[in-house]
Subunit: 479 residues, 4 copies
């Protein structure tokens, strides 16, 4: 059986930290599972998957019938940036034991969250190949720094858009190790479109809600400017209350600031407002149906600017968190969301529209491409990454092997009719010969032979020969 | 007092992990200390500085009369890659408390070691500006991945060579935040050349040793191929024993594999061999004199390919650890150091030569440039990094502010001689007017006015106006 | 100035982890602050004080105007026992840096929570004296193991009840280092009784509530049997709903199981039930008023069995968590709280009663006693703890110093009329003399002198002398 | 198959941290392995086993053919007390994942080192039964605090000496859960005595050494007084150099101070002194032979005061580290080892003697006893520890169940000849009856019945009945 140029199955470790990355990783995991002749799959679960406040989303993985090999608590409580760093630290303290036990050939890591940085750091330092999903994108936040740092640690890249691919190449990643596959979540997205969606909509938004007549809101804290992002969330809720449409509000990701946002929701009475439904988690396939048929999606979730375009649903993107992202025309930005009124106007403009569907983020065939890419990985290739910098001028220093090839001696034949000097390489090849009539007197001979040697030595440099000594020629050389 | 465009001193935190990074950071620290009107300095010491086996090099910092604010144990024992990852984790668990206490404006981080990655990760996630020293270089090892990952997390870059600067720009870092300063250690190097060096040489190598007649050896394990690098170290020691010159051997850095190398030294009896001196640490200013006057330096230390070129001392660089680095012509590579003989030949070729001095890595003025660069940092500027990717095509999506400027209405004046339609912006400006004679019949009027509206609406798109409604014109508009 | 037998102030570090321990530590901290000539106080805050879900209770400490020297995130998320252990680990990784920085003479630690074990472990291993508050008590849960383990690590004990004192002595702690002070919270309790309490009651329970006509409920998970304790909580809420009195429910401590209990509260609709008020935290001085005037307190909080007795308020103690505790007669146990009905009956029995006040846990003078105890600590005394085990028989082995005192020689005087042998100690004392007439013949003399030496050597053992040699007596000895 | 009162094998986890604890645990592990019908064994290796400087002693476990399930790096570098605490922390961060994976019924932990405290803490908090080996002993150092703290966390105790057993009982541990087994290492010790020992002695001490004519030295740092213990080590080495006998010196345990001691050894030239052999590790069975036939053992190792007594080999115990331990008469203490001369004299006194063999620490049958004890553990028994404190007076508070049994009513029968009042329990039993003639007038009747009720109520208290109400008697009661 021919597998990956290797003679055994590829041991793939997929590590997932939260509902968001799982929505991208799950399609790949399902794909890997369908090819047991080629792959062995180990699943590691960490981060907010295991946290009650965030819906214990590890249960989704169990429901999807994957064996979870390892569960690691990696979140340090504290709701600020310090806790985030400490959480990365906790993961790094624990992951090596797991990786030493599983010994994967390759680890698949997704995205740009702090947990992903921990995964990539541990795998890179432990000489385990990393396949990074969704590198090269630009959102305009601290996530960019993390995402690009992961890119630098990763050995293989699966990117979702043509721009992302260009960015990876721009950042000097090796083109041969970049796959433009599209976003894996799009496979499911595009194949899931025609299901009986009304029952799902009713389940999450109430029996009396109509298609295209409700809003989905999902806003995360921006960790580089928590205070501002909480203010923005307040304004958004106010605008949504005024707008007076049935609205599903999802709880934010577990980031610095998230607790504060939950508190804002409570203060505004969102959990008990008749127009609102506040939930921690919606299974991805149901979430797809909800946004596909929403009158509008609002917030700063990457999902809004990425997945939702596939359905042409209008999106209002608030603030700068996704500002750099590629989007379809369905997205209306409110970059500077500083008044309730501005957000309200955006809602009036977007609500209920239908835009053309966009394929920027995928055409529904990402997973087969990724599986093929995985199979093509040659474990015999050096682990060491190459970075493809534009050419810089040659180093002046040399390698001994190169010199050894050109190490030479001057072979001198003093006898007979002619004086002969030859540049002879270490391997015995005569690189160049010099011949002169043998003068009569001893003084003349010495003088001539020295002159010939000097000339040969000078020319040797041009011939890339390094003269190490002078010896009397052996007969075959002299011949 | 004018300070950094800010109205107070810049709080600079320098974190140092080992003797190697301290040799680069110390000159900057001394510089910072000379300008107390501009800077406040906090020194954090971690990593192998605090480890007995590596010479307790934190004492150098005390001897240099810097106050050490914080000392952190961050090394997990284990001598393998797992321990290295866990050490990064330990540092990340501990650093946030320190950074929260010190609240620096900027953290200065050097190089490409795992400890530096921990420092950069913690500062980046905690929204503390990072100045990274020595980014953009290429060595061809796992260090490259770490170095470039730190680059992605860092906000400001001080690089040492023209190539490094080019690489940083190539990787899409913001040119405005890159300073080509040269290597800070070169300042000291180039100003320290004429001291009474013989007493130093005698102290470390014995009373009977002569200038240019001894060797300095410094080899580190290569963490991506530990086994091979230990083999190479064995061959090197054998070659040095055969070569039979007085040799100073420095203990390797504390990396996965270092213990194994120390064991090889013991096995070969290096510590008690009359030709060898084995030491854990040489103060940097003395080390300079030692390599400046050595007959040859051998190993795979970055120092060999970087600093030593300044003196024209011959260097033999073993293996691939520094293979990608820029060097002067004084460096002879033995990339594939697979036989004792090959290393021995390299020693014969290089020992005792004098090469022209090289300024690739610095001209002796790095520190003043760095201080000026630090002063120019504007703390009011957004912390968020910009990455300078080549242009990609425009997004199709829009921002609400842009729309608000162009939001328009069609103002319709139905009365009198003429029918008039105008495109009127939110701000009340008439963007364009249309006028037609008022037909007689009501049906004709309606038909004409609709036609005019359709025409105006179509043209509005070209005029970047978004027609929101139709209203009867107020007199002043109609006028 | 006379201070503690020492010539400087005593550096006291108080570390507090949650609202519960702070209610005991705060009175001591206030006391320490009133004597700046004797004490320096450093406050370290960790654990659930810093967690939003538990009310960010570190703010109480700030409001009490203490400088918080250090704040440490030490809680790992996970809501199970594993997370609790990891939290202890996290604290232990971080505390040494703090202790090395503060270098306290003594650390004050309270209680039996996992955080306290971390504090005691770090201080004990770092040779810092530990004063443990509230040791020796018995609750009948895993807390007992932790509390007694802390006792073994602590150097000084402040206990609250006569039984606790007896238990500490029973466990072989040194009686001299045990202070029976009473519970520090009682000082405040007993002095706070006559304030205007109705405004406090109305603030927390509503305007229409009457004195003695409401319930305070506070139940924590039992970590050794989480499932059962959640079931019990459900039954309790059902009983309280049936009982139909205004009830203040406090959120549980952050322990394994606490999240589950919060969920139960939500499921039962407690947060929105007109009879219930659910709160995270009540300041201790207000809490005192609330329980002092409640119709009944119910739950398994230590507060119920300890503090509340001071007011004679009826308490219903549920389950086994406090079962071993000493209580006043105001406490009715429902050890096996397995039916709603049983709890309901207990409510009917207890609600509205008034019991005599109990002084088991304190007479209101704990803090002055503790301050006096602190001042009496002699830092010159060895840090090493003595454990006071009942006597065991003597070791057979000996100490060299003892032997040296009894090292002896036989001094032999051969000349003159008499033969004399003496056992002479190292110090020159004659322990015993032997005298015989000097026989005539040489053979007889030798025979006799040997016989005398044998006799002396045999007797030396009884005299605890160890004969090392034989020497000719000096005149004065022989005399 | 009847197993432990349970219906399945007992899952035993043995965790070993260093060569010292492995010498005690290995015999038990071998025993467990011989009974696969009763036990499943998981081996966890951590601490200094995995450290190169301490001989990578995990290899002993592999050579003994045990499967190592998990290896954890748990040592933080730093050679001081802070590092020790952080190492405990690191272990606590990592162990829960392992324990959650292995789910042992019982964990076996040995001794009094900081690593053992980490093991016991994690198991206790995770509700895993702990069997502690070697509790109850007294050495007079910080180890005592740790050992007794572990005792408080442990559920079962295997102790080695009668005194240790007494101490455990004194500290209020449950006598039923204490096994006096003797030290497991003695089993091997006493069965290993007659082997061909000379080849072993020659291997470690040289070909020319004779039985009883060499010294074994093993000294550890005392972590509560590192400075002093290093001084003592210096004096010891000086004394040994003067004493001029062939001496085997073992490297100290990895504790705070150990590095300093290794440095002292180097300074004194021990590693190259002809009389000395310095080694990191001797396999336990060979070590037995070495000490069994030594002229003397010197140091402060527990081995000296424990194991060596079995052979009657003279021991010189230095300092206070083992001062409280039970010993045979073979031990000579030099408690205050403050001069070289004193140590030298002790050497002169002890070297070459032969003492009677001692069985204080074991009779060679510990392992069978321990296996039987393990089998007797009933997993159905509550995990919660009981502490056996001397009796304290009864609590005044009551339990509802007790009350329910005694809840009563007064049954009143007003009709016929007699007035009757009965105290009737909840269960329907008549506890006491009162009968009076029925007076004529209504007023008399009411007066009498009230009087009877008052009397009955008063008496009910003495009868432990709690009158809840008054009811008209049903016929059968009245009968």
């Amino acid at each position: 059986m021919e597998k990956n140029g290797n003679n055994r199955k590829l041991r793939v470790c997929v590590a997932t930290c939260n509902r968001a990355d799982y929505s991208k990783l799950a399609p790949i995991m399902f794909g890997i599972k369908t090819e047991p002749a080629f792959f062995e799959l180990d699943v590691v679960v960490l981060g907010s998957h295991l946290i009650d406040d965030y819906g214990n989303t590890y249960r989704m993985i169990e429901q999807d019938d994957f064996d979870i090999n390892t569960r690691l608590h990696t979140i340090v409580r504290g709701e600020d940036e310090a806790a985030m760093v400490e959480s990365v630290g906790l993961a790094l303290v624990k992951l090596p034991d797991v990786l030493n036990r599983l010994k994967p050939d390759i680890m698949i890591v997704h995205g740009d969250r702090f947990d992903a940085l921990a995964l990539a750091t541990s795998a890179a330092l432990m000489n385990i190949r990393i396949l990074h999903i969704e590198g090269g994108e630009v959102s305009g936040t601290i996530d960019d720094s993390i995402r690009h740092a992961i890119t630098k640690l990763a050995h293989y890249h699966v990117c979702c858009t043509r721009s992302a691919e260009q960015h990876l190449i721009s950042m000097c990643e090796d083109h041969d190790r970049i796959l433009l596959a599209g976003c894996p979540s799009y496979d499911k997205l595009l194949s899931a479109k025609n299901k009986d969606y009304m029952s799902i909509i009713r389940m999450w938004l109430g029996d009396d809600v109509k298609c295209k007549d409700y809003i989905v809101a999902l806003q995360h804290p921006v960790t580089t400017d928590i205070k501002h992002s909480i203010k923005m969330f307040e304004l958004t809720l106010d605008a949504l209350i005024s707008f007076n449409k049935r609205t599903l509000v999802l709880f934010p990701n577990i980031d610095a600031g998230s607790k504060e946002m939950v508190r804002v929701m409570r203060k505004k009475g969102i959990e008990h407002h008749p127009n609102f439904r506040a939930v921690k988690h919606v299974p991805f396939d149901q979430f797809i149906q909800l946004v596909a048929h929403a009158g509008c999606m609002i917030g700063n979730s990457s999902c809004g600017v990425r997945e939702v375009g596939a359905f042409g649903t209008p999106v209002i993107n608030l603030g700068t968190r996704q500002i750099g992202r590629e989007t379809g025309e369905n997205v209306l930005h409110v970059r500077d969301a500083d008044t309730q009124d501005k957000i309200l106007q955006a809602l009036h403009l977007q609500f209920g529209k239908q835009y053309p569907c966009s394929k920027i983020y995928g055409d529904g065939n990402a997973v087969p491409r990724i599986l093929k890419f995985l199979k093509s990985i040659d474990l015999q290739e050096p682990l060491q990454k190459k970075f493809c910098f534009p050419p810089v001028k040659e180093n002046i220093s040399q390698d001994i092997d190169h010199i050894l090839e050109t190490l030479s001696a001057l072979a001198v034949d003093l006898g007979g009719t002619n004086l002969r000097v030859a540049i002879v390489s270490m391997k015995g090849e005569i690189v160049k010969k010099y011949t002169q009539f043998n003068p009569k007197t001893y003084e003349e001979r010495i003088s001539l032979i020295l002159q010939m040697c000097v000339e040969a030595a000078a020319e040797a440099v041009k011939l890339n020969c390094r003269i190490l000594g002078v010896a009397q020629a052996s007969p075959q050389v002299a011949a």
